[in-house]
């Protein structure tokens, strides 16, 4: 079986600065990590891999994204593909999904496509479902674990608002994963990092994936960001340090003064 895992490199910090002129976050000088949900997706793929299966990690980005893909190889992916072209820039989720679909078609046969539930930076959670729609395959969302693959069917445990559900689907399909609360991302050990350097790593551009250029980047995007701005900073709170009784009195005074009660 072939599993394709789509991963994204995201900033390590929550304290991103915004460039008001370009309506983009400033990424220069900001350290990056693999989107944690995407690492879960990769680990889900690794957990069900059997001998002879292939795991392909794929990401859209620039040469700096190689570090994320090398991490995927060190964690257990068999090959990695970086999709890097100026035309891919400014893609919204639909443009992103179109690029990934072209690359998936170029790879050829596949059985499962794994994505993280959403990304830590933009967090729209759209790419997985859009991939499924464009590829015309089923999708499972909020998958916490893949329990069984048997006779062309897959069974998984997925989160709901109330608890869990066990769901089944035919293959191929798209799975978007979400981590259980106990999830501890694996840390690649030294020997595997060293072995990863010898695994296949390719860089594909628009011509390589033979897609429709009008569907990539800003041209292929349905959504345009009109304005990107930070939420107003919360004012500093008041800490009441007195003993309990006078503290309650003071708290009441403040709440009444601010017309909270």
């Amino acid at each position: 079986m072939r599993f394709i895992v789509c991963v994204k490199q995201v900033p390590e910090t929550n304290d991103l600065k915004i460039d008001q002129n370009t309506n983009k976050t400033v990424t220069e000088g900001v350290s990056t990590i693999i989107n944690p949900f995407d690492q879960l997706a990769l680990e889900q793929a690794i957990s069900i891999r059997k001998e002879g299966d292939e795991i392909v990690a794929m990401s859209i980005g620039d040469p700096k994204t190689k570090s994320t893909l090398m991490r995927c190889l060190a964690l257990g992916a068999d090959r990695a593909i970086l999709l890097d072209d100026e035309l891919f820039q400014d893609s919204d989720t639909f443009g992103t999904a179109n690029i990934l679909v072209s690359a998936i078609n170029k790879i050829g046969d596949y059985d499962l496509i794994f994505c993280g539930n959403s990304s830590f930076d933009t967090g729209s959670g759209q790419v997985g479902p859009e991939l499924a729609a464009l590829l015309k395959v089923p999708q499972m969302t909020y998958v916490e674990s893949v329990d069984e693959i048997k006779e062309g069917k897959i069974r998984a445990k997925a989160q709901t608002d109330e608890g869990y559900r066990i769901i089944e689907s035919t293959i191929p399909l798209v799975i978007t994963g979400i981590p259980p609360s106990s999830f501890q991302p694996s840390i690649p050990p030294l020997p595997k990092i060293m072995a990863a350097q010898k695994k296949p790593y390719d860089v594909w551009n628009t011509d390589d994936i033979e897609g429709d250029k009008n569907k990539f980047g800003a041209a292929g995007s349905l959504i345009k960001i009109v304005k990107l701005y930070e939420p107003p900073k919360r004012e500093e709170g008041i800490i009441i340090t007195e003993d309990p009784e006078p503290a309650v009195e003071k708290l009441m005074e403040l709440l009444i003064k601010d017309k909270v009660i």
């Binding site: 190689k66 991490r71 840390i187 690649p188 050990p189 020997p191 060293m194 350097q197």
Partner: protein, 396 residues
Amino acid sequence: MIEFTEEQELIRQSVSEFAQKRIAPIALDMEKNKEIPKEVIKGMAELGLLGCTADPAYGGSGLDAVTAGVIAEELAKGDCTGSTCVFYLVQASWGYLFNKYGTEEAKKEIFPKVTSGDWFLGIATTESGGGTDVVGGKTTIKKDGDDFIVNGEKMYISGVREAVNGGGGHVTIGHQSPELGSRGMTVFYLPLTSEGITPTYIEDLGREGISCGGFSIDNVKIPKKYIIGEENKGFYIIHEGYEYARALIAVICAAAGLKSLENGMNYVKERTVFGKPLAKFQEINFRLAEHYTKLEMLKSLGYEALRAIDLEQEGKGDRFETSKIVAMSKMFASDWACEAINDVIQWQGAFGYSRECPDQAAWRAVRSFSLAEGTREVMKMIVARELLGKELTSYK
């Protein structure tokens, strides 16, 4: 500035994640409990950090010195007590020596247990009468048929309890031909579980997660396979292990100092005095700039020293040039880091002096490194020897 490879950056990321998530939160507890938790040692082993300089054939990763430095740097940022740094650096440095000069049979026996974290591989050359003056040591090693008999004692040694209780031993040195002085010394591996070893323990000022102690050696028999390198050439061999450790110590000191400055910066930006942040006081921001500059210089020099070790291994370096740059890197490593951390303690006021503050633990740990693996004074002697020539060296 040294440039790191993609592979080294990935290794840095892995070790950083491990150190920040698994070590930093429990670092101060390691001092209270006087041990590195088994889960941490197991985690270090699973990551491939223990005995990482041994060849893959023996369970190591065959790392070069610069990469070993990257690991040391990230451990130092995560472990304010320096305990895991010592646990790591000793095994990396002396594992390197053992890998280079040890017998095939001994490496096959010992390394797999070291890299799995079951055994500890240490260094024991210091004696109660002195450490830096290796030739002045009293320990002897004598041939006895196919075996060797060792007598003497070692003192102020890291990891004694770990090797006595968990298994393993220490690389050490003794006089095989006392009449030949430095030309009659032999390096060997001494299992601390051997009959005739009696350990004693000492409370150290810092890095308390790893034990410190000594042991008497009373007619301990060791097999020939435990001899490291050529007999009577030990004095020359042992310095390669020291130098490896010294260069790692330079990087560890720089990283510990820079981490402490980071703590200090976070504090002085938030803490206000007389209506303005502490950071705005010139006394603080000038000191910060000075410490940062010194520590970055130190880190660069530490990596240059490690690179010199690598170049020498590739046949491109010079033995004495390596000794010089290594000594330069370690000479002020502890002093500069201690000065920086001491100021960070001062900036944090009473909290800085409390046991809750990670920086006081870092100061106590880093302080040890102007003594360990060759004193500050010996580093000066080595550099001066290379500048003035051996005939003008101060120890002859």
